[in-house]
């Protein structure tokens, strides 16, 4: 669809058709405020845009991620891999949820740089029950492992992202089982971190760049950052259907119950 301003669209198709015909939004034109003629689609689009404003890690309008950590080839591997780890079906998968964006921002940030990781040597291979022992910080681990994977698969002529889904699954199972040396990284160590972070990216709060529009929370019925159930907890078995909320949607602090003011207890 060619670029068209929302105002032109409203004029041409009328309000009723807008929900079906909403074009990708361009940043210049978010000033339509006609209260009487706002239909459901427009309202949703506008509130989504407001949510997006509070989510600094959000990618571009078309859904593409602005990669800051992965290079293009690493990103191609990541996108293809996470699409198999959490596939799309009747619900969003890792791609729609923005998991590549989450991984990119986590690995390019403090976590990737080794927050909370004791990295001093000497370094010995791990033993059962002793956890991670490599000197690599998470960002380094991903760069090293993915480069090794891409190099190996390019040699055999077929990068991961050009494989069929079945072939991709087979390769991922191979990494998961271990026994593939990725420039010194045991493949199961890389796979564990990739899968773990993919699940985090799917289920964590959207402010971290994944779980876009809380699709994962909507899938399972997790209410998110909203958190007060004083009146509902003893209604055993009740179906709780409130729309989830994200940290990015709050306007100031919650007062869970106006009769329980959160005042400082020491006046």
């Amino acid at each position: 669809m060619s670029a068209i301003s929302r105002r032109e669209l409203l004029a041409k198709v009328g309000v009723a058709g807008l929900a079906a015909a909403v074009a990708p939004k361009t940043s210049a034109e978010e000033t339509v405020h006609s209260a009487e003629t706002i239909c459901r689609g427009e309202e949703t689009a506008r509130s989504e845009h407001e949510n997006r404003k509070s989510d600094p890690t959000e990618g571009s309008e078309s859904g593409e991620t602005n990669y800051q950590f992965f290079n293009r080839e690493e990103a191609q591997f990541i996108e293809a891999a996470v699409a198999r780890l959490i596939p799309t079906d009747q619900h969003a998968g890792a791609i729609e949820a923005g998991v590549p964006n989450y991984l990119d921002k986590q690995l390019g940030g403090a976590w990737g740089a080794g927050e909370r990781l004791y990295t001093s040597g000497p370094w010995e291979p791990t033993r059962p029950g002793l956890g991670y022992q490599l000197p690599l910080k998470p960002g380094e681990l991903f760069h090293t492992a993915i480069k090794a994977i891409n190099a190996e698969l390019n040699k055999s002529g077929r990068p991961f992202w050009e494989m069929s889904p079945d072939q991709q699954d087979e390769y991922l199972h191979k990494l998961e089982a271990g026994g593939v040396d990725l420039n010194g990284i045991p493949s199961e160590v890389f796979f564990d971190q990739l899968l773990g972070m993919t699940i985090e990216g799917f289920f964590s709060d959207p402010v971290y760049g994944g779980n876009k529009d809380m699709v994962a929370w909507k899938m399972i019925g997790f209410p998110g950052a909203y958190a007060t159930y004083y009146d509902l907890i003893d209604q055993h078995g009740i179906k709780f259907e409130r729309e989830p909320t994200s940290l990015g949607q709050s306007h100031g602090h919650f007062i869970p119950d106006p009769n329980i003011p959160a005042e400082s207890p020491h006046q």
Partner: protein
């Protein structure tokens, strides 16, 4: 040359539950006190606010409130014949840091230990015979202080916190609705139990049918608004499901921030210094008197704080490390069994059991609280005859969802693929329709499980890391298998349960990468004999009478229960002895 500060009467190392409660008990004495905390200051307002605190990734997954391994980790090996490797990331246990320590992010599970716990060796030998107990290969010891002596201090801490629960035994009279196995208490809990979760109600039905005695878990996340004996106010829990690893924005969790710090910080005689890393307890030339502590401040300046009394109240194994770094007391040698500092390190032996329900059964795990369980003590401690089984100790079985956080609180049936469409199908089918039990048991001491200093790895100040040598004793492996089987029976009997599964963490080799419990204990244990203990029953060092070492490091072995209430009872017992006897006549109290 370190800068010397002006001398004070008491210097506290670490400012969490232990230090803050002792400091609170001393505010009216006129003593000049300094609290040294390695972390940042933080308070309910503005640091623990909703909704920011309801962030699973930051606090539960990334562990924002925990000690920073970049600066200070520990090393672990399973036996003395191995090389210890660094615990590069926390997993099994999560030592807290910053003002208030683990008292901020605890779950508020507020139990007393049982009478036999304090005289474990004597009680086990009495019931099962010395031969039976010796064959188990344990180094269990009596504490040197009986439950009855601690009872008033348990009561005091419960009323300080406003703990919510239902008494099961008041002065020997069993009370309906409470735990018939509990140690006798002098009066009811200060506030009534929390509301029961659906998960707990289903468990209650099954446990009752099987002839057990379910009761509500005692909680320091309060059921109602409460004003404590010091006039501090707490609010009712709103069941937000972000408790352990999180701070409470609602003033509903008893913590140093809500029940001790406000009193301490009002006192003009108390000074808090944060971002101060203590590296040594200093002594005079006799070695029998502490003269103060040396620390590095936030700018890296080396400072000496002279004091008449030194109180160590850090995360328990850090207490032990400080004694070893300061060369106070004889380090324990597992080969010979001689020495005391580092001896009898213990932990907690646990498993989880899950029940899977149909999709129309809405468990609503996200409506949770830290101590919201329905539970039984029928298999705790020595509440059943162990003679047929060849182990001692036991576990409570607790049905609770502290929350329903999707990254980490999302169990799936065995055989579920870990990723792909099969995983996604399973998550869709099961999230919100699973019941959970925790089986939480005793941890016995052995000759081989101990703490010392690592020969290779160092912290950011260049000092040796603590080395932990630990694996679950065979006794405890047998115990947790037995108790898990009992929990599986209950899981199958829960109405609507279609399948059950379990995961036992208490097995060999101990896996430091998977969360189990933050109830590390021992290493500076209490006792009646200085050749087999580090402190006396007032947690006073045998070697250095003006040094007190507070906390779970005092435990000769660990009991069935979460131990905050017990260590605080010990600390209040210590506070009384300091206030009423030590200050009048400084010197050995025993």
């Amino acid at each position: 040359m370190p800068t010397a500060m002006k001398e004070v009467d008491v210097v506290f190392v670490g400012f969490g539950w232990g230090s803050s409660i002792l400091a609170k008990e001393l505010v009216n004495t006129g003593l000049k006190m300094v609290g040294l905390e390695r972390g940042f200051p933080r308070f309910t307002s503005p640091d623990f606010q909703s909704p920011e605190i309801h962030d699973e990734l930051r606090f539960a997954v990334r562990k924002a409130m925990m000690q920073d391994n970049v600066r200070e980790a520990i090393t672990l090996r399973h036996s003395i014949s191995e090389t210890a490797l660094p615990v590069r990331r926390w997993g099994a246990f999560l030592p807290g840091t910053n003002l208030g320590g683990s008292g901020v992010h605890w779950n508020g599970q507020h139990f007393r230990f049982q009478e036999k716990d304090f005289v474990l060796k004597t009680a086990m030998e009495e019931r099962y015979g010395k031969k039976f107990v010796d064959a188990l290969g344990l180094t269990i010891q009596d504490w040197g202080v009986p439950y009855q002596e601690l009872e008033p201090y348990y009561d005091k801490f419960e009323y300080l916190c406003g703990a919510s629960g239902k008494a099961g035994n008041i002065k020997g009279q069993i009370q309906p609705g409470g735990n018939p196995f509990e140690a006798p208490r002098s009066r009811e809990y200060p506030t009534p139990p929390l509301k029961e979760q659906y998960n707990g109600a289903l468990f209650r039905k099954a446990a009752t049918e099987l002839g057990y005695h379910p009761y509500p878990q005692p909680s320091s996340n309060l059921s109602v608004a409460y004003t404590n004996p010091d006039g501090l106010k707490l609010k009712a829990c709103v069941y937000c499901g972000f408790c352990e690893r999180f701070a409470c924005p609602h003033y509903a969790k008893a913590s140093p921030q809500t029940v001790t710090l406000p009193i301490v910080q009002r006192s003009p005689n108390f000074e808090l210094r944060t971002q101060c890393q203590v590296v040594q307890v200093n002594r005079d030339s006799t070695g029998k008197k502490a003269t103060g502590v040396t620390y590095y401040d936030a700018a890296g300046r080396e400072i000496f704080q002279p004091a008449s009394m030194v109180v160590l109240s850090m995360f328990p194994f850090n207490n032990v490390r400080m004694l070893l770094l300061s060369k106070i007391g004889k380090p324990y040698d597992p080969q010979t069994g001689a020495g005391v500092v580092g001896r009898n390190y213990s932990y907690q032996t646990t498993s989880n059991v899950w029940s899977f329900f149909d999709e129309d059964v809405n468990i609503n795990p996200f409506m949770g609280s830290g101590a919201i369980g329905t539970m039984i003590d029928d298999f705790s401690g020595d509440n059943f005859d162990h003679a047929p089984y060849g182990f001692i100790g036991g576990a409570y079985i607790l049905a609770a969802w502290t929350g329903g956080r999707p990254v980490e609180q999302n169990p799936l049936p065995p055989g579920t693929p870990p990723w792909g469409k099969g995983w996604k199908d399973a998550v869709r089918k099961h999230y919100g329709h699973v019941g959970q039990m925790l089986v939480h048991g005793t941890s016995m001491s052995t000759r081989e499980n101990y703490l010392d200093l690592d020969p290779t790895y160092r912290d950011a100040w260049g000092l040796p890391l603590l080395r932990m040598t630990f694996d679950f004793p065979e006794n405890d492996v047998r115990m947790i298998r037995f108790c898990t089987d009992r929990a599986l029976e209950i899981g199958k009997a829960m109405p609507g349960s279609r399948a059950v599964s379990s995961k036992i963490y208490g097995q060999r080799p101990f896996d430091v990468a998977i969360y189990q419990s933050t109830h590390n204990a021992g290493g500076a244990i209490m006792g009646t004999d200085p050749s087999t203990s580090v402190v006396n029953k007032y947690q006073q060092s045998w070697d250095v009478p003006n040094l007190f070492v507070l906390g779970a490091s005092s435990f000769p072995q660990n009991g069935t229960y979460n131990y905050t209430n017990t260590l605080q009872a010990l600390n209040l017992h210590t506070a009384d002895a300091i206030r009423n006897r030590y200050l009048k006549n400084p010197g050995p109290l025993v």
